[in-house]
């Protein structure tokens, strides 16, 4: 600032044009910044902050470090090949006694139990049976006597693996991977490997819902764009009508419609089409129907805006040049709606990825999407590390998709439209 004003005071012509421009624009920039400031702060606290927190929790590993600090220090130099030395056993005994006094054993036990089933019992039984500090030099023997698990190298590997401060444990877990006793990454045992399935299911349902939305939304958007304004405005109100009620109400309405004694089944039965009620809800079908209904407007609106921009002269020109209606549609109209299709599909797909309430209410056990598990770990079992890791993987997948879409759109702008 001072430098600028000094040179400015000297001779106006000596100041580079760029800097003079900057100075001239500064007041306006400040004003603009002040206007977006509140929103920026809001986003920082409600959006960027929580996401950063979630990403941190996905890799943070503090519990064992806090509860068993001496053990963690003692294990720092352990090569993991044999049982650790006496020093580590003594440190553990001392840590356990301190933790028992402070009542924090359960915190570490919970974390260690994630990594090795049954660790909670090892730790609590040890704490219960360790009456006094073992004599110097006898810690190894004493602990080994209390619980044979302390004579197992894997027990110590688990503690060392959980000693933080950061860990890949949760992220690997979210992808059905674990580290074995030697620290190598291997597939989790089949009875624990569920998340890949859940991710695959999440993507599959999202994909199906996106496809359904596109198939149902395209003609509606076309109609909206083609009708005269008065009627298209009326139709637009119907498209936006679902937004007038809450998501919960709309989802519950589907339960009323689709349940075995619901409106649809009763009608079909009354018409004599079916004898037994069809299973329309608490399965994949119900999830797809309800989610498609909820997400349809997010497909229709981008499609509509891209179709609105396509002049009717193009279709006339195509017809006059000899293209039958279907050819004209496929070669002239459809390619021009691609940006709308892309935007709508991406929007619906990303929204569907994170869907929670609808599948939770109208889906069966095998239709729960990743958000259900995130919610489960956050609220039920308080395994925030795994919940965050699942969230981080989902976020990564979403960001990659968005980047891919951005690339496609950008490529299209450079060439001024998509080739067909």
């Amino acid at each position: 600032m001072t430098a600028a004003s000094l040179t400015g005071a000297n001779t106006e012509t000596n100041v580079p044009l760029k800097r003079r421009l900057k100075r001239a624009e500064r007041a306006r920039q400040l004003k603009a910044f002040a206007l977006v400031g509140p929103l920026l702060l809001f986003l920082l606290f409600t959006f960027a902050g929580p996401i950063a927190g979630m990403l941190w929790r996905a890799v943070a590993d503090q519990e064992v470090r806090q509860v068993l600090p001496q053990t963690v220090t003692a294990l720092a130099g352990w090569d993991g090949k044999d049982l650790p030395d006496e020093k580590a056993f003594a440190a553990l005994a001392s840590d356990i006694q301190a933790a028992r006094a402070a009542g924090t054993i359960a915190i570490a036990a919970k974390r260690l139990n994630y990594a090795q089933n049954g660790f909670r019992t090892i730790l609590t039984s040890t704490a219960r049976n360790l009456k006094a500090s073992p004599e110097p030099g006898t810690a190894k023997e004493t602990l080994g006597k209390i619980n044979a698990a302390w004579r197992d190298r894997a027990t110590w590997t688990t503690i060392k693996g959980a000693s933080g401060p950061v860990t890949s444990f949760y992220l690997l877990g979210a992808l059905d991977l674990v580290r074995n006793a030697d620290g190598a990454i291997v597939a989790a045992p089949p009875d624990q490997a569920i998340y890949r399935d859940v991710f695959a299911r999440t993507f599959l349902i999202s994909l199906a819902v996106t496809a359904l939305c596109l198939i149902l939304g395209f003609p509606v958007a076309y109609l909206l764009a083609a009708l005269p304004p008065a009627r298209s405005n009326l139709l637009m109100i119907f498209v936006l009508l679902p937004f007038w009620t809450s998501l919960l109400v709309r989802t519950c309405a589907w339960i009323v419609l689709l349940q075995s004694k619901g409106v649809v089944n009763d009608s079909l039965h009354w018409l004599g089409i079916i004898d037994e009620p069809l299973r329309l809800i608490y399965n994949r079908f119900g999830v797809c129907v309800a989610m498609t209904h909820v997400l349809l407007p997010f497909m229709i609106l981008p499609l509509y805006s891209s179709m609105k921009a396509i002049s009717s002269a193009y279709m006339r020109a195509a017809a006059s040049l000899g293209a039958p209606p279907l050819t004209a549609f496929l070669r002239i109209y459809l390619p021009q709606t691609l940006p709308g299709i892309g935007a709508g599909s991406l929007l619906v797909f990303i929204l569907a990825l994170g869907y929670y309430i609808t599948p939770a209410l109208v889906g069966g056990a095998a239709d729960q999407m990743i958000s259900y598990f995130i919610a489960l770990y956050t609220t039920e079992t308080a395994n925030w590390g795994l919940a965050s890791a699942l969230g981080a993987v989902l976020l990564l997948a979403t960001v990659l998709l968005a980047l891919l879409y951005g690339k496609l759109v950008q490529g299209q702008q450079v060439t001024g439209g998509m080739k067909n």
Binding site: Y314, R316, S320, P324, G416, K419
Partner: protein, 363 residues
């Protein structure tokens, strides 16, 4: 020279709302190889006529024949009619080459032949180097040339142009007029051209059909239209025109004596007057009038007193605006420089020959 009609409109009527006829009883023959312009103000039915020919509108009454086949119910893509739109309507997602190749590819023309024809078409409009660009990267004039190439590349029987030059600036428009005219002459195609610009129509057309109020007022060659308009609308719409109101006194051998409302009489050719005593509008072209300061009339010429309002210098010529017989916007075309001697408010006389003054229907 009797060339068979390529297109025949027979008793065509068109209404959009069921109350007003936009086109009233149109009968029109378009000959093969001819450049015909549908000229008229907006709302006169000329574009509707074109759209019915293209197949985008269906006539309410009557039939259209193309090469003697009725086409009223034939969809546009089967008509084999090329069309150039006002806003070019080039497909924005395709390159120039792909745009021009489009009519060939939907007709499943052999690839190598299509390529050669596209190349030839692009050479014709001198745009071979731009083949890989997109329409958005071209100027308006270039886009219109591409639209032209696209409409011609499949050798249609007929090419329709709906105010194709309306969006271009004057200089470019005049250049494109000549280019289109040349294309028409070298390729021998039949063109139906719609415009509201009478000078464009005069420049390009073999024949002009002047539309007003859903009715063809006159179909004629440009010179005939200008020299011998059949009614006041055509006289006023095509070219500059001066109007004087009066009533017919006598008619004799194609000429009539007309008493002016403002006083005085002139002799005029009786073109569209019903008889003695009828009201009439006299039409005199600005370039057929001489200003005579002292009132010394030539033999047999009409002579009227006038008052100079103003003069306008236009480079290649000048205009004098006079007050003649209650018409305060009476224009006289002068040689450049001749306007210098005229002063505002000066009293002069104008003279014009009876054969240059047409007695038409009253406005």
């Amino acid at each position: 020279m009797v060339t068979p009609a390529l297109v025949r409109f027979s008793g065509i009527q068109k209404t959009y709302d069921g109350e007003h006829l936009v086109v009233k009883n149109l009968d029109l023959d378009i000959r093969k190889g001819e450049f015909i312009t549908l000229l008229g103000p907006s709302g006169s039915g000329k574009t509707t006529t074109l759209m019915m020919l293209a197949g985008f509108e269906v006539p309410t009454e009557g039939e259209i024949y193309l090469s003697d086949r009725p086409i009223k119910n034939m969809p546009p893509h089967k008509r084999d009619i090329g069309m150039v739109f006002q806003n070019y309507a080039l497909f924005p997602h395709l390159t120039i080459e792909e745009n021009v190749a489009f009519p060939l590819s939907v007709r499943r023309v052999d690839k190598s032949e299509a390529q050669a024809r596209v190349k030839a078409a692009l050479r014709m409009i001198k745009m071979e180097t731009m083949a890989q660009r997109r329409p958005g990267q071209l100027s308006g004039g270039q886009q219109q040339r591409v639209a032209l190439a696209r409409a011609l590349v499949f050798n249609p029987q007929l090419v329709l142009m709906d105010e194709p030059l309306g969006a271009l600036d004057k200089r470019l428009r005049e250049q494109m007029q000549l280019e289109i005219k040349q294309l028409h002459e070298t390729m021998g195609i039949t063109i139906v051209y719609v415009t509201h610009d009478q000078s464009e129509a005069l420049t390009m057309s073999d024949r002009i059909a002047v539309f007003n109020d859903g009715i063809v007022q006159q179909i004629d060659r440009p010179d005939a239209l200008y020299e011998r308009p059949v009614n006041s609308f055509v006289a006023n719409f095509v070219g500059e025109n001066n109007v004087i109101s009066g009533s017919v006194e006598t008619i004799d051998k194609g000429y009539c004596r007309v008493a002016l409302k403002a006083g005085g009489t002139v002799t005029a050719r009786a073109i569209n007057v019903s008889g003695a005593g009828a009201a009439t509008s006299l039409s005199v072209r600005p370039e057929r009038i001489a200003i005579i300061p002292d009132g010394a009339s030539g033999d047999g010429a009409n002579l009227l007193p006038a008052k100079v309002q103003s003069t306008i210098y236009l480079g290649d010529h000048a205009l004098a605006v006079l007050d003649v017989a209650d018409n305060a916007e009476f224009m006289v075309k002068l040689q450049p420089g001749a306007h210098d001697s005229l002063k505002h408010g000066e009293s002069v006389f104008i003279s014009f020959r009876p054969e240059d003054c047409l007695a038409l229907d009253p406005v």
